[in-house]
Symmetry: C2
Subunit: 361 residues, 2 copies
C-alpha cells in the first residue's frame, strides 16, 4: 500500500453498539495521525455516531452493510452473510483497500471469514490467535495460539514462535524477544513429542531475531521474564480463560473481605487509590485486541464488551501492525527458517551418507 | 483391612524437613482419632521429632529407611532406590500394611513408583492426579488430571470423571457431584474428538452417582457451580499452574499498589483483617494434598513447601479416602459404567442387524 494506511472497522460487532466502536476509533486516531478509516455497518447509525467525532469523520468513509453477523451465528452460517459489516470489512483487506480490519463480533465467525477470504501466508500452515497479557515486568507478554487450533504439530508451533516474535518486535518494540514454549515442566524430556520437537527446531534456529529460552510452566506466564509464550490453541485457550477466571476470583474474594467488617470497609475507602491501581492493571481494556497472525492481512478481534478505551487499544494494535508491516516481517523470518531447515537437511543427508559408508563391525 | 486404618508417611520428602512432616501428621491425628501411622525415613531424626508429639508417637511405628529420593532424581533413577523412605512407604501400601501413603517428595518419582508398585485398578487404564481448588461457592472443586497423562482418549476421560466424582463424594460429602469436561467452549461441537466422545459417553451414563453438565471453560473453574472438572493432564497442569501464577500476580500487584503511597499504606494497615482473609482463602496449605486416583491403594502428594497445616491437610485427605474406601467406590462405579457400555453395545449390534435386514433401495 503506497497511500496512507487505512483500517476497516466492523462498526456493528460489539455488545456496546456502534457508538463505542466509533468513539474507540476516534480515540485511537489521536495516536495515529495519518491513519484513515473505512467504517462498515448501518449507515444512519454510523453517521449519527460520527457527529460527535468530526476528527474521525474527516478521515473516514462510511460503507453501508445491510446484513449483520450475530453472536449466535455458527461460522458456517456467518460466512454466507456476504454483505454483513464483518464480511465487508474483511473483503476491504482482501482487495487491498484497507491494510487491517478490526471487529468486536463473533470470534468463530471472524476467524472462519478471515481464513476463507485472506488465506494463510506462504509458509504458514495455520493462523494463530495472539494477544497481549499483563505481567509484573516492564512489558506485556505475547501469547499464542489462544484457541484457533486445537491440535498442533511441531512445525505449527515453530511458525507460531516466529509470528509471536515478530509481533513482540512490532508491538512491544523489542529487538530480540525472549520466546518460550508452554509446557508442564521445564526439563527437556517433559511434554508431548510435538513440543519437544518444536523446542529442538527453535534451539537450532539461532539466526532468527529472537532468543529461545526453552519451556515455561503456567505459573510463570505473567512474571515478566518471557516476552512470547507459544502453545497449541487448546492449552492456550484454557490458560487464558483460567487466568481471567482466577483474576476475577481473587478480586471477588478481596471485595468480600473488604466488606466483611466496618474496619475493613474503612480501610478500603482509605486505600482506594491502591484499588484503582489494581483495577487499572487488571482492566482487560488495557490489553484489548487479539490478532489473527499468519493471514495475508491483519485482522484484530476486539472483545465484545470492550469500552471506548478497549476499542481504541484494539485499533492501536492494528495500526501498529500495519505501520510496521508485520506480514513482511513474518515472511522474512520464515524464509530464514526455511533456509536453515534446508541446510540442516543437507547436513543430515551428508551424515547419513557418511555413516552408511562405514563398514558394519 | 480389618484392623485400624494406617497411613504410611514418607517423612523425608518435604523441603521443610522431617519436623514439619511429623508435626503435620500429629496435627492431622487430632481429626482422626483411630488412625495409626508408619513413619519412614531417618530413624534418629524421626524419633527426635516425635519427642514433641507423644500423641503421634503412641500411634506410630518408625521404620528406618537408609536411602533417599532427591528432588533432582529422574523417575528412572528413583525407582531403583528400593530402600528409600518413599519406596518403603509405597511398599507398605502394596503389602496391605498401610491403607494409604503420603509423601512430599519428587512428584515424578512418586508417580512412577506408585504406578509400578501398586498398578492401576481393574477397569482403569491410567491413574490421574487430582486436587481440590478453592472456589467462590460453598465447596472446593475437584480437578483432574493435573499432569499424570499428557495425552488422553475419551475412555481415559470417562474414567477420570468416575474417579473424580467418587473423590468429590468422599472428600466433599456430595451425594451427586456436578461434573464437567474442561473445553475451549461450551457448545457441543467445540474441542477435540476425544472430548466430544467423552461427553457423549458421560451423557449416556445417567445411572452413575453424578450429574454430567457438559463442558466448562477455564474462566468458570473457580465460580463454584461445578464440583468436578475433568481434563487431560496437559491442559489440566497448564490450568492449575496458570491459576497459581495469576493468583500470585494479582496479590503482587495488590502489594505494590498498597505500598505506592503513604495513604495506601495506612489503608493497608487498617484493612489487615481483610488481607488475612484473602491470604487464608488463597493459602495453598488449605488445599494441600493431590491424590493419585486409580491405583490399588491411596497415594497422596503433599506440596514440597507445605507448612505443618498443609501436611496435616494432605494426611487428612488420605485418611478420608481410606475411611470412605474410595478404591471400592470407584470399582463399583466402573462396573456400573461397564454394564452400561455392554448394554449399549448390544443395542448397537441389534440396530445394525436390523438395518442390514432391510433391503437396499
Amino acid at each position: 500500500m503506497s497511500q496512507q494506511p487505512r483500517i476497516a472497522i466492523d462498526a456493528m460487532g460489539g455488545d456496546e453498539g456502534v457508538r463505542v466502536m466509533i468513539a474507540g476509533a476516534a480515540l485511537a486516531r489521536h495516536r495515529h495521525e495519518g491513519l484513515r478509516f473505512s467504517l462498515f455497518g448501518d449507515e444512519a447509525q454510523i453517521k449519527a455516531a460520527l457527529d460527535n467525532h468530526p476528527n474521525l469523520r474527516a478521515a473516514s468513509e462510511v460503507v453501508h452493510a445491510p446484513d449483520l453477523v450475530t453472536g449466535t451465528d455458527k461460522p458456517s452460517q456467518a460466512i454466507r452473510k456476504k454483505t454483513s459489516s464483518m464480511a465487508l470489512a474483511i473483503q476491504a483487506v482482501k482487495e487491498g483497500r484497507a491494510g487491517a480490519a478490526v471487529s468486536a463480533g463473533n470470534t468463530g465467525a471472524l476467524m472462519a471469514m478471515a481464513k476463507l477470504a485472506l488465506r494463510t501466508m506462504p509458509g504458514i500452515d495455520r493462523p494463530a490467535l495472539s494477544a497481549l497479557l499483563p505481567t509484573l515486568g516492564d512489558n506485556d507478554v505475547v501469547m499464542l495460539d489462544l484457541g484457533a487450533n486445537t491440535e498442533c504439530d511441531a512445525r505449527n508451533l515453530v511458525q507460531f514462535a516466529v509470528m509471536g516474535a515478530a509481533y513482540a518486535r512490532t508491538v512491544l518494540d523489542l529487538e530480540r524477544p525472549r520466546v518460550r514454549l508452554l509446557n508442564i515442566g521445564t526439563e527437556e524430556m517433559k511434554g508431548t513429542d510435538e513440543i519437544r520437537d518444536a523446542a529442538a527446531l527453535l534451539r537450532a534456529a539461532t539466526a532468527l531475531p529472537m532468543q529461545f529460552d526453552g519451556f515455561i510452566e503456567g505459573d510463570r506466564i505473567s512474571t515478566g521474564d518471557t516476552d512470547v509464550v507459544v502453545t497449541e490453541g487448546f492449552a492456550g485457550n484454557i490458560a487464558l480463560k483460567t487466568a481471567e477466571g482466577t483474576a476475577r476470583f481473587v478480586t471477588d474474594v478481596l471485595r468480600n473481605a473488604f466488606t466483611s467488617s466496618l474496619r475493613s470497609k474503612i480501610g478500603f475507602l482509605i486505600s482506594k487509590p491502591a484499588m484503582h491501581l489494581l483495577k487499572h492493571h487488571l482492566d482487560p481494556n488495557n490489553h484489548n485486541g487479539a490478532v489473527f497472525l499468519g493471514l495475508n492481512g491483519v485482522v484484530v478481534k476486539s472483545h465484545g464488551g470492550a469500552s471506548v478505551k478497549g476499542v481504541a487499544n484494539a485499533v492501536h494494535v492494528a495500526a501498529r501492525l500495519l505501520e510496521e508491516d508485520i506480514t513482511r516481517r513474518i515472511a522474512e523470518d520464515l524464509a530464514n527458517i526455511g533456509a536453515l531447515a534446508e541446510t540442516q537437511a543437507k547436513a543430515d543427508a551428508a551424515r547419513t551418507a557418511q555413516s552408511t559408508e562405514q563398514p558394519a563391525k
